[in-house]
Every structure is written in structure tokens, then in C-alpha cells.
């Protein structure tokens, strides 16, 4: 059965996707002329690269309990008195190398941020499309669930989900599932935004003749829909997703700081800051300072890119 349906005439032969537009170099030009965007992109790549290669380049696996040596705890950074190699940024109270912990922690933060945005996107886009396409009670149910989620503050939902999950899971699973739980907790309140955008776009599209016609002749118009709807809302979704990526990393850090996120034996940046905060006055400043700097740099560069993207893709501001 032939699945493709003849395209409506207005879309024409040339269908500029955002990739085309990018190659079209407007965006590329804008990127090159924004030093802050370049700087952020380089920084983010560097962070992602070092985080991805963390097992290869760090002197220690901070998640391997047997690798921690209590004798080597609380060593200051190498440039301070008492500092020693290979502990470039010093060690924490368990003998965990801070540089290794920061890189592994960044990896966790980036993975959780990225995965939660992906999950929210996948759920949001599909539910939005379903709601917009089918309408009726399905639409009603999905959007009502969205309303309910949006009527509770983001951070509250995330805290409740992680707190409940950690309290009710058996120990063996808790370690393994700490990151997935966080991904889920952050994705749950954030899919609604995407769903609403796509739904609005889908509803406009559904009213168009070709879809109506396709429905009449009982042809599955899914693919056509996708081709039309997604490009229409890609710009706002891309911008939202980028900014949400930064927000997700911040949320993960906040939850871990509050003690309902990553456990202390697999510390993320937020967990490291929480642990370090206890030693704020003990002279062990490096435990809290380096993870904080790294966290701020990551979120800052993501937000800079998101901001630039929004301005660059907004025709009114060109």
C-alpha cells in the first residue's frame, strides 16, 4: 500500500527545513557574529568532551568506593600549601579527587539534563500531536492532565516524585535508578509546554483541506501531518528545549542540593555542593567552590546559546 499522499500544492517543490535554513547561513552568520554564542558553544563542547572522556582522563574513578583512600582526604588544590599530585583540585573528606568528581558529576548533570529534555520532548510531541489530531475526549484528557501538572509548581512536583521514589524503592534498585528517577521527575512537569505548542499547530493544520480529504478517503495522514506540523513549531520548540536543558540541569542540582537527588556515593554537581556546604567554614573551600563554578559555567553557556538561538530565530528581532 502506497503510503505517501500527494503533497498539497502550497508547500511546493522546495520545502525549506531548518537545516536548509541553517545552511542558508543566516543562522550560521548570526552565530559567527556573536562572540558570546561562540564562547558558550566552545565551553559547552569542552565540558561535554571532558565529561564524556572522564573515565579516561581522570586520575580516579570517584564512584568506585574501593578506589577512595581515606588517607588522602582533604588535600588542598596543588597550588595551595599541602597540595599534591595528581589531585589537581584537591580531595574531599573521603579522599575523592575533586577534579574527577567534578567531571563525573558534570557527566551526570549533562546526561540527566539532556535525557529529561529528550523524554519531555518525546512525550510532549506525541501527546500534543495526538491531542491536536484526534481532538475530542482524548484531547480533553491530555490537556486536563497538563493543566493539573501546570497547576503545581515545577520544583514541588520534582521534589515529590524523587522523594517518594527514593523512599519506596528497595536499596539495590535505588543506586541504579537514582538518575532515571531524576530524569523522570524533571520530565514530568515539563512535557506540557511542548504538547501545547504542537497541539496548537496541529489543530490549525488539521482544519486544512488535505487532512480533511485524507481522512475522508481513509488514508493515514500521519506522515503528511508530521511534515507540516513539526517544521512549523520547530523554532519555538528548539528554543524552549535549549532553555529547558539549562533549567533541567539547575533542577537536578537543586534536588541534589536539597538531598533528594543523586546519592553521595555517585555525586552529581549538586550533591558535591551540598556536601561541600557543610565544610564552608572548615577551610575546605575547594569542595564547594569547584563544583559550583562548573555548574554555573554549564548552565550559563547553555542559556547563552538558548538566548542567542531565540534572538537569531526570531524574525522580528533581526
Amino acid at each position: 500500500m502506497e503510503k505517501t499522499v500527494s503533497l498539497p500544492p502550497q508547500s511546493g517543490a522546495v520545502r525549506p527545513t531548518w537545516l536548509d535554513r541553517m545552511r542558508d547561513s543566516d543562522l550560521w552568520y548570526s552565530f559567527r557574529s556573536h562572540p558570546s554564542a561562540i564562547f558558550s558553544a566552545v565551553l559547552l563542547l569542552l565540558v561535554a568532551f571532558t565529561a564524556a572522556l572522564a573515565p579516561l582522563i581522570t586520575p580516579q574513578n570517584p564512584y568506585d568506593l574501593a578506589a577512595l583512600e581515606l588517607w588522602n582526604s582533604e588535600i588542598p588544590p596543588v597550588w595551595e600549601e599541602g597540595g599534591q599530585w595528581p589531585y589537581l583540585l584537591g580531595t574531599d573528606t573521603q579522599g575523592r579527587d575533586i577534579l574527577s568528581a567534578v567531571l563525573y558529576g558534570s557527566r551526570i548533570s549533562l546526561i540527566i539534563g539532556f535525557a529529561s529534555v529528550l523524554l519531555a520532548l518525546a512525550v510532549g510531541l506525541s501527546l500534543g500531536l495526538v491531542a491536536g489530531y484526534f481532538g475530542g475526549w482524548i484531547d480533553n484528557v491530555i490537556m486536563r492532565v497538563g493543566d493539573v501538572l501546570l497547576s503545581m509548581p515545577f520544583i514541588l512536583i520534582a521534589i515529590l516524585i524523587t522523594a517518594i521514589a527514593t523512599a519506596s524503592l528497595p536499596m539495590g534498585l535505588k543506586d541504579v535508578l537514582a538518575a532515571p528517577i531524576l530524569i523522570f521527575a524533571i520530565a514530568v512537569p515539563s512535557w506540557v509546554q511542548y504538547a501545547r505548542t504542537v497541539r496548537a499547530s496541529a489543530m490549525v493544520e488539521t482544519k486544512k483541506e488535505y487532512v480533511q480529504a485524507a481522512r475522508l478517503i481513509r488514508v493515514k495522514s500521519w506522515r503528511v501531518m508530521l511534515h507540516h506540523i513539526l517544521p512549523n513549531c520547530l523554532t519555538p520548540i528548539l528554543v524552549a528545549a535549549t532553555l529547558n536543558f539549562g533549567l533541567a540541569i539547575l533542577s537536578e542540582a537543586t534536588l541534589s542540593f536539597l538531598g533528594v537527588g543523586m546519592p553521595p556515593d555517585q555525586p552529581s554537581l549538586g550533591t558535591l555542593i551540598r556536601i561541600g556546604n557543610q565544610y564552608l567554614f572548615s577551610g575546605l573551600w575547594w569542595i564547594v567552590v569547584f563544583p559550583s563554578i562548573q555548574l554555573c559555567l554549564i548552565v550559563l553557556s547553555v542559556n547563552m546559546i538558548g538566548d542567542w538561538l531565540r534572538d537569531a530565530l526570531n524574525p522580528k528581532l533581526r
Binding site: V148, S151, P153, I164, G246
Partner: protein, 327 residues
């Protein structure tokens, strides 16, 4: 208009019922209150009896119905931990959170609006660039890091402002205010600044976007063409046009600020509702957690509904629900 009003209200009620269901489901399966209430020396028999008395062995529907009926009447039961009426506890804590959120909101407007106007009007100036950079740093700094930094700088190093608590408070009826004493005001500064960083940047960005849009509008161009002084056009006419969205944003963000205050309150040991909630989580104080979730959601929903209704009242076109984009 009346139909719209009814529809919005019904919607809000539905949402609240759903939140209540969610709250109930969540809290019924979280932790074991019995273990928190009994003495370490209580026997197994004591525990079983207590469980029975608390009604924790009843069926799901029975427990849920009891929960909703009581909640509607403002009865959230007795705190497992403090053994005090939850509503009384929340009432005691509400003023602290409210004053914190209020002052943070005022800071966000007082700082955010001028900053937004400046970045829009003097788009390419160095000052605007600095403010823009500041705003992006503002959204990127985690609020607990800001709090820790403020404490380090202003409490520990300089010793200017207190690091925790509310200072002295004055009771006006049941409302305890820290705004009337010097130590109360001093204690408010750091938490409010820390809580407002995110909000300042939100307001600033919104004002900037709205201003940029308005400044392109025809009537502004006409006004300029007619010879109205530029500054007057910018600060009076254009700005006035941006205020409605700013007020909307502020109204809708208050719920979020109340929720986010729990992070600030944790860092500064601010005796508000957020700290009550975090402590309730630690101690599995189910009634307090349920009450907090419901009350914050209620404020959130009520404000959003109010904003929607106001909007529809101002602009009849918006009464068609489906035409509303994302707020």
C-alpha cells in the same frame, strides 16, 4: 462573560480536585507515619493499634473521601510530628513566606523594569550589554549558590546582615511581621535578594521584549514624528503598554516563588512554609505535606484563574479559550 467566568471557575475546581487526588495517592504510599509517632520502646502491639487508630488500614476510597472532605473544610488533621493542628502551623508560617515573596517581588519589579527598559531603549550600549549579561548570569546561577555566596560575603566576611532566621517579629493579630523591627528588616534582605535573582531577570527580559515590540508600533512612531520627546515616549507611552504583561507575569509567578522559596528558606533557615515542608518531608509528616501541596497549588490556580478572568474582562476576544497561546 458570565459563562466564561463559570467555565474558568469550574475548570479551577476540577484541577484542584485532581491535585487533591494526586496528593492523597502520593501521601498514602509514602513512608510509615506509625514509626515516626511511636516511642522507640513501643511494642509491635502498640504499633498495630496505632495503625488501626490512625485509620491507615481502611480502604483506599474511604481514606480518600475522608481526606477530601476534611481538606475542603480546611482541616488537614494533626501534624504527626508537632501534634498540632496543621492549619495552625501553616497559618503561623504563612506570614514569613508571604513577606519574603512580597519583598522579592518588589525587588524584582524595582530592579527588573528599569533594567528591561534600558536594555531595550539603549539596545547597543555597553550598559545594556552588561545588563543583558547580568540577566543571563542571573538565570544561570542556582539560587542555593547565590544564597551561600551572600551568606559568605555579607554575614561571615562583612558581618553586616544576619545569616539566618527572621530577627524580631511583631504580632498584629495572628499575623507576625518582621517588617516593623530593624532586625526583622535586616534579616529579610539576603533571603529576599537571593529569591528575587531569577524573578528580576524574568521581569527584565519580558520588559525588554515588550518594549522592543512596542517601540516598533506605529503609534510610537507617530508620536515621535509628532515631536513628543523621545524619552517621554519611551518611559511613559511605551512602558505603560508593557505593564499589563508584567503584572500578569508577576501574578502568575507568585505561586512559583512561594514554591521556590523552599530552597531559599532551607539555605537561610527562614521559618516559613517551605522549611515546614522540607522538614515534613524529612519526618514523613504526611498531613503537613498534603496541606502544603494543596495550599500552594490553590494559590497558584487561584491566581492563574484570576489573571485569565481579568484578561478576558479587559479583552473580550480572549474569551474563546482555544485562541489563548501560552501565557
Amino acid at each position: 462573560m458570565i459563562a466564561f467566568l463559570l467555565k474558568r471557575t469550574a475548570n479551577a475546581v476540577f484541577v484542584m480536585l485532581a491535585v487533591a487526588l494526586l496528593a492523597f495517592v502520593i501521601f498514602r504510599f509514602f513512608g510509615d507515619p506509625v514509626e515516626m509517632m511511636v516511642n522507640e520502646q513501643a511494642s509491635l502491639q502498640d504499633r498495630i493499634e496505632l495503625r488501626e487508630r490512625l485509620g491507615l488500614n481502611d480502604g483506599f476510597v474511604t481514606q480518600y473521601t475522608r481526606f477530601v472532605t476534611n481538606a475542603v473544610q480546611g482541616d488537614f488533621g494533626v501534624s504527626y510530628r508537632n501534634q498540632q493542628d496543621v492549619m495552625v502551623l501553616i497559618k503561623e508560617r504563612f506570614p514569613a513566606t508571604f513577606e519574603l515573596v512580597l519583598v522579592a517581588t518588589v525587588i524584582s519589579l524595582v530592579v527588573g523594569i528599569p533594567a528591561g527598559v534600558i536594555t531595550a531603549v539603549y539596545r547597543d550600549s555597553r550598559l545594556a550589554d552588561m545588563l543583558q549579561l547580568g540577566s543571563i548570569i542571573g538565570v544561570s546561577l542556582p539560587s542555593f549558590v547565590v544564597g551561600i555566596l551572600l551568606i559568605l560575603a555579607f554575614s561571615v566576611s562583612l558581618g553586616w546582615l544576619p545569616a539566618f532566621g527572621r530577627g524580631e517579629t511583631v504580632d498584629i493579630g495572628w499575623w507576625s511581621t518582621g517588617l516593623l523591627t530593624p532586625s526583622g528588616r535586616a534579616a529579610l534582605v539576603l533571603p529576599a535578594v537571593s529569591l528575587s535573582t531569577f524573578q528580576v531577570t524574568l521581569v527584565m527580559r519580558l520588559v525588554r521584549a515588550e518594549m522592543l515590540e512596542t517601540l516598533r508600533a506605529d503609534y510610537i512612531k507617530f508620536a515621535r514624528a509628532r515631536g513628543v520627546p523621545t524619552r517621554r515616549v519611551q518611559w511613559r507611552h511605551a512602558l505603560r503598554n508593557c505593564l499589563m504583561p508584567v503584572i500578569t507575569l508577576t501574578g502568575m509567578q507568585i505561586g512559583n516563588l512561594i514554591a521556590f522559596a523552599l530552597v531559599t528558606e532551607t539555605v537561610f533557615q527562614w521559618p516559613g512554609m517551605g522549611m515546614l515542608f522540607i522538614q515534613a518531608v524529612t519526618f514523613v509528616d504526611l498531613p503537613v505535606m498534603a496541606a502544603y501541596l494543596l495550599i500552594v497549588s490553590f494559590i497558584f490556580v487561584a491566581l492563574n484563574t484570576l489573571v485569565d478572568i481579568t484578561y478576558a474582562w479587559v479583552d473580550p476576544r480572549l474569551r474563546d479559550d482555544s485562541a489563548r497561546g501560552n501565557g
